[in-house]
């Protein structure tokens, strides 16, 4: 800043996009998509990748550090971690997707009902969601899990699903409030369209883009919730292999300093979450950001 005057409000045009910058992959989350696809396919076709039986407890080789035979080592029960990761990833990922489907479905219906309802009902419904939000979800999950009995994949997806729909429902409600007095909704209603018809054919296509980011983030938080629960011993039991239940052995691993039991499944978990987040951020990213005035 050698000049005496600082020019204000100049909006320099972006440089002419060169042929190189115009490539189709610019700004797209290629890396995350690739990694996510690799993990996904690896889990789907785990039979081809697994070097050992993931459920077999090899009592001769428990707690072994990674070596040629056991690529990622074995856990405190003598199971091969490399095979367990692919095998368990299937469950972790499907719990994430399944509970997101459940929570999104609840959120869309609830949000739309609340958005279309008269004012007092809307207030009551929104107040109720706030109360539901106010109990720490960990406690609700523990309680529901106790009611449903022994945890399995379906019950845990269900429990996570019905505790994580409120934030999406709020967005849906706001969007529906804005959309519901549009002419085409009125027209559809005049022609005798039912609530679910209007919701599915007219409302959903309009707000789906604004909740897509939250839906993707919901997959992420569902995977985190499952692994946290299983880790704490209130989710899936040890015999059901997921990334979370693999980590529940880490208390013992800490005592023996077996880093591979903690670090390797955890890294897979974190990498997956990172890719999912990147995907979500890509969906949210605003394509045309304005020039800064500062």
């Amino acid at each position: 800043m050698n000049e005496q005057f600082d020019m204000v409000g100049i909006r320099p045009l972006p440089p002419e996009p060169t042929a190189k910058a115009k490539r189709w992959y610019r700004g797209k989350p290629i890396l995350s998509l690739t990694v996510l696809a690799a993990i996904f396919l690896g889990c789907l076709f785990c039979r081809l990748l697994m070097t050992k039986d993931p459920t077999y407890m090899d009592l001769m080789n428990y707690n072994t550090a990674p070596n040629g035979e056991f690529l990622f080592g074995t856990d405190t029960m003598g199971r091969d971690i490399f095979s367990m990761i692919w095998y368990g990833g299937r469950l972790s990922l499907s719990i994430g997707v399944l509970s997101t489907l459940i929570s999104t479905a609840i959120a869309i219906v609830f949000g739309a009902v609340s958005g279309c309802a008269p004012g007092w009902l809307d207030t009551v419904l929104m107040r109720l969601t706030e109360i539901l939000l106010s109990v720490p979800s960990l406690l609700i999950i523990v309680l529901l899990q106790a009611i449903l009995g022994k945890a399995n994949v379906l019950s845990i997806s269900f429990v996570i699903g019905i505790t994580s729909w409120t934030s999406i429902a709020k967005v849906v409600r706001t969007e529906v409030r804005q959309l519901r007095s549009s002419e085409y909704i009125l027209a559809a209603r005049c022609m005798g369209g039912g609530f679910f018809h209007i919701l599915w054919r007219h409302l959903t296509p309009n707000f789906v883009s604004s909740i897509m980011f939250m839906v993707v983030m919901n997959v992420r938080s569902a995977i985190v919730a499952e692994s946290t629960l299983s880790f704490m011993g209130i989710g899936l039991p040890l015999e059901v292999i997921t990334w979370g239940s693999m980590l529940s052995l880490s208390e013992k691993a800490l005592l023996t300093g077996a880093w591979w039991i903690i670090l390797i499944p955890g890294s897979f978990l974190v990498v997956t979450l990172l890719c999912v987040t990147d995907l979500g951020n890509y969906m949210r990213r605003n394509a045309n950001r304005k020039q800064s005035n500062l």
């Binding site: 008269p118 107040r127 539901l132 109990v135 406690l139 523990v142 106790a146 946290t228 704490m232 979450l273």
Partner: protein
């Protein structure tokens, strides 16, 4: 006239608060009673299995467990108004005492964590916004995104592995070493790891939020005017943009209180830190109804309170929110 309006405004808020708490208590009471599992076991221990049916009935009658659930709720509510929340089945003590002995630990962990997050996220957000899209911003954003993806329990495990198991610098569990409960230094040493996890787990979420808010603000026209009249970048940023962002940041931080509290629950369990988190986890597992009720109520009240505070802040900043709500209610004549 204005004064009456104000009284009505706060009266309505207080009414909503009590109604919410009442509904919350009913919900928690019913859910906790629906859960299977035998509260007698947590009260009498393994002796329950050897009890005859008559003894069992007597024991249930003594704890008031075989009345209809509505009667149980009304009885609970009645004694709760007298400050009596019952005894913990597991600890055989007044639940208020059980919680009282632990709540301090959680308040320290959560409170210090909250303050650190509050200050650090603002600094980080301003730093990123200042260097928008430059190297520093991009690097911080990348690191922040990564840090927000690491589940809290795993971060705790990794930190324990590094700092307690391998380096042996810091203790891995508890709030103080045995026999050193008064030693401040020892307590701080026990606090470092849990605190790090609590802060790292939430920091980026709020820092990113304030970064984006400032970036939105920076694009407003008044910034152009301020620059045009010769203000420096620093004074525009701190005296105008930041000042405009802070009220909405405050309301976000009010909602953040319960989130951070919920975060300490997991962290406490991993570090076996004697606080409310470990207590609620235990009480839910062992069907310790009275304890669980009060814990849920406490955290619920905190959340409801924070929500109302956030709402009030929002309405004070931007009266349009209220007007809009009113308009919405008016317009809803016909479905």
């Amino acid at each position: 006239m204005k004064k009456r309006n104000l009284a009505a405004y706060f009266g309505k808020k207080i009414f909503v608060f009590f109604l919410s708490v009442l509904l919350l208590s009913i919900a928690v009471f019913y859910i906790s009673r629906l859960a299977p599992g035998d509260p007698l076991v947590s009260y009498y221990g393994d002796r329950v299995e050897k009890m005859t049916p008559e003894e069992r009935e007597w024991a249930e009658g003594k704890l008031g467990l075989n009345d209809p659930i509505t009667v149980q709720y009304i009885r609970w509510l009645d004694s709760a108004f007298h400050g009596d929340f019952g005894i913990s089945y597991k600890y055989k003590m007044d639940v208020v005492e059980v919680i009282g002995s632990r709540i301090g630990n959680t308040l320290i962990l959560g409170g210090v964590g909250f303050l650190l997050i509050f200050v650090a996220s603002m600094l980080l957000g301003v730093l990123c916004a200042w260097h928008e899209d430059r190297l520093l911003d991009r690097v911080i954003c990348k690191i922040g995104t990564i840090s927000s993806c690491v589940p809290e329990f795993w971060l705790s495990l990794v930190l324990i592995l590094i700092f307690s198991v391998t380096l042996r610098w810091l203790p891995s569990s508890g709030a103080y070493s045995i026999g050193k409960s008064g030693d401040i230094g020892d307590r701080i040493a026990h606090l470092i790891l849990p605190l790090t996890v609590v802060v790292l787990g939430h920091l980026w979420y709020y820092a990113y939020m304030i970064r984006n808010k400032i970036l939105e603000e920076v694009r407003a026209d008044y910034v152009l005017l301020a620059k045009a009249k010769g203000l420096t970048k620093r004074s525009v940023m701190f005296r105008h943009c930041l000042r405009n962002v802070i009220p909405s940041y405050l309301s976000i931080m009010a909602i953040a209180v319960p989130h951070i509290l919920g975060g300490t629950y997991v962290v406490e369990t991993v570090f076996s830190y004697p606080g409310i988190g470990t207590l609620s986890y235990e009480s839910a597992r062992y069907q310790d109804y009275n304890l669980l009720m009060l814990l849920c109520l406490l955290s619920g009240i905190l959340v409801i309170l924070c929500n109302i505070i956030a709402q009030i802040i929002n309405e004070q900043i931007d009266p349009r929110i209220k007007a809009q709500d009113a308009a919405e209610t008016l317009e809803v004549g016909e479905p």
